[in-house]
Symmetry: C2
Subunit: 247 residues, 2 copies
Amino acid sequence: MSREVRVLPLRGIPELERGDDLGALIVAAADATGGFEPRDVLVVAQKAVSKVEGQVVHLSDFEPSARARELAGDDDARRLEVVLQESREIVRTRPPLVIAETKHGFVCASAGVDASNAKGPDTVVLLPSDPDASARRLRERVRELADVDIGVIVSDSFGRAWRRGTTDVALGVAGIAPLLDLKGHVDSVGYELHATEIAIADEIAGAAELVLGKTEGIPAAIVRGVDIEGEGSGQDLLMPRERDLFR
Amino acid sequence: MSREVRVLPLRGIPELERGDDLGALIVAAADATGGFEPRDVLVVAQKAVSKVEGQVVHLSDFEPSARARELAGDDDARRLEVVLQESREIVRTRPPLVIAETKHGFVCASAGVDASNAKGPDTVVLLPSDPDASARRLRERVRELADVDIGVIVSDSFGRAWRRGTTDVALGVAGIAPLLDLKGHVDSVGYELHATEIAIADEIAGAAELVLGKTEGIPAAIVRGVDIEGEGSGQDLLMPRERDLFR
């Protein structure tokens, strides 16, 4: 873990539409920066993935339930109806703020339903239905087009308990073990490290966010120089319910 | 936010002792990688700062209270006594795990009291008493020795609610606004972004962690290429109690 790490923004990717070949657009953008290298990690913003997968819905197609109207406060109750339909469980509410567990098991604001950067005020973007599968497809497409084996992270900006501001985290991964387990490693003064797991996939997603730029149309970045090894799932990053002290 | 970001490990910093001139050791290590550039962010692991500041205590100096023995389970009750003395409030417990709010307001495991990487099995390392002041002192020392104006983050590895693994976050900052406020910015399709604050100091700390290496004696890194602007405090990253849904 002691090499330099580089975070390279991928520029020139156009506004995305359902069905676009995101992998090909990414490979073209990467070529403009010198191309992928083996063991690079490609980080792609969830919203880009959701758009090409057609995970965009129109609020006018939703009839708010009583519960949605109650949670909405002064906000659009149709948006809250979408949030409820994307949720497995509501964790906390303070209208119109809803912290929910999504169908995938992520705990986040509005079950990941996001109005900003969508295709107009009446549409919202949902999370990908299976972010690991999205990451795997992008990994395969890059291998197919560029003949290189990389890791892929589909990221999103999540709020946190106790701390202000969002940081990007990994929703789906491919070709990377998202947790680095230091259990049993011995540190530089010979003391064994206990029970230390580092969520490197989340740290890589956060590093990529530093160049993504919410307002500038840069939906993807390459993170180069991290020792990725093994395989895993974005689900590995979810705290098992029986160990979760904050539900 | 669209330049390349580089994360450079600072190698060759020796095991640290109380009173060591950490700023001078860091400047020497940075010189070996080409030196600091203006607006670099120096990220220093909390433990390095705590050691030079003498924030190391011997468990044999602590007599466990009944409460400490109760929380300890099979663990060392003297360590739990230190945790209690460093805490303003206990947030959750499952012996021997304690999630506490520290005297500074950070919510984390064991109030930041850390046995690993300390100077033997009978000592523990506390958080710096004022991480912002620590960051300011390092910033001043770098300016004095290298005549360059940088940002500084004192970082630590914190667990999170709902997600496994730790990510590094900023405890203290100097020369950097830790939250990037996107309120009112207009994104690439003209939709105004609402209420989006990015905890860039935490993302920078996490990016640095990718090269720090818990077992390899690399206590600091340079993060280069992030648009840091303004001033702020690590306290800016703490969720005000009245807005905190998870206490």
